[in-house]
C-alpha cells in the first residue's frame, strides 16, 4: 500500500507541475519516455529470467488451481466487453487493453499511452488503480460470497506484492502459494496482452 502511494505521488507531482507549467513539457520528447520504457521492460525481463526458483515452487500446487490465471483473464475480459457496449466512444479492443492491465497500473498505463495516446493511458492508470483498491477494500466480502479464490482473481497481477497480505489474511495461509503463482503468471502476461489489444 505504501509503495502504491509513493508511485501515485510521482504521478500527482508530475500532474501538478504539468498543469501549472512548472516544467517545460516540450523537453520531454516522445523518444525519451520510449527509451526509458525499453530499459524498464529489459529490466522486468531480467527479473523474471533471473529467478527460475519461482517455477519450482509451483510444483506442489493443486492441479486445478493452475487454471486460476485463465479464470482471471476470462472473467476480466467478459466484464470489460460488457462495459464496452455502453461506452460508445471506446472500441472493444481499447477496453480489453485497459482490462488486460489486471491491476498492474504502472506498466499498463505506460504501454497504452505509448500505443494509444494519453487519454486511454489515463483511463488505464485510473482503472487499474481502482481494481487494486477494490481488492484491498472488498476482499472479505468476495471470500464470503464467491469463495476463497475470489480475491486472488480480483487482485489480478498484484497478488504477488500489494494485495498479497490481504489475500493471506482473508483467504488463509493455504492460498499464499496460489496467490504468488497467479501474480507471477499475470505479471508476465500483461505486456503481451496489452500490446496485443493495442495493435488491433
Amino acid at each position: 500500500m505504501k509503495g502504491s502511494l509513493i508511485i501515485l505521488s510521482f504521478f500527482a507531482t508530475g500532474l501538478l507541475l504539468g498543469i501549472y507549467r512548472f516544467f517545460p513539457v516540450e523537453l520531454l520528447g516522445y523518444n525519451v519516455s520510449f527509451f526509458v520504457l525499453c530499459v524498464l521492460m529489459f529490466s522486468v525481463g531480467i527479473s523474471i529470467g533471473n529467478d527460475p526458483t519461482s517455477f519450482h515452487q509451483f510444483r506442489n500446487l493443486n492441479p486445478r488451481l493452475i487454471f486460476l490465471p485463465i479464470m482471471t483473464i476470462l472473467g476480466t475480459w467478459l466484464g470489460v466487453v460488457v462495459v464496452s457496449f455502453f461506452l460508445k466512444n471506446r472500441s472493444m479492443a481499447d477496453c480489453l487493453a485497459v482490462g488486460s492491465g489486471f491491476g498492474y497500473y504502472s506498466l499498463s498505463s505506460i504501454l497504452i499511452t505509448q500505443c494509444k495516446g494519453i487519454e486511454l493511458g489515463t483511463i488505464a492508470l485510473l482503472s487499474n488503480i481502482m481494481r487494486e483498491v477494490f481488492t484491498l477494500l472488498f476482499a472479505p466480502w468476495m471470500v464470503k460470497y464467491f469463495g476463497k479464490l475470489a480475491p486472488i482473481c480480483a487482485g489480478g497481477a498484484t497478488t504477488m506484492d500489494t494485495t498479497f497480505p490481504i489475500i493471506v489474511r482473508t483467504s488463509g495461509k493455504d492460498f499464499a502459494i496460489v496467490s504468488i503463482y497467479q501474480g507471477f503468471i499475470m505479471d508476465f502476461t500483461v505486456p503481451f496482452l496489452v500490446t496485443f489489444f493495442c495493435s488491433l
Binding site: L15, S43, N62, F67, M71, S106, I118, I123, M130, C153
Partner: protein, 91 residues
Amino acid sequence: MFIVIACMITGIVVGYLFRQYKLRFIHFLILTLIWLLLFFLGLEVGANETVIRQFGKLGYEAFLLAFAATLGSVIFAGLLWMTVRSKSVSK
C-alpha cells in the same frame, strides 16, 4: 510496440544466463524507472488541457471498467472454487 516485447524477451534471456548471480539491484532499478515514467505521464496529462478538462469523464469510464473487470473475475473465481471444493468433498 513489438520493440518493447523484444526488450523484455532479451531481458529474460540475459537474466537467465546470469542466474547464478542474484541481481538484487534490478528490483530497485525497476521501481525507479516506474517512478520516472509515471512522473512523465503525470506531466503529459497535466499539460494536456483536453485530458484535464475530461478528467472526471475519464475517471467515470475507468470506474466502470474496473468494476466490471473485478466483478467478472470474481464470478469466474467462484466457478473454479465450486469445482475445486466439490472435488475435495467427494474425496
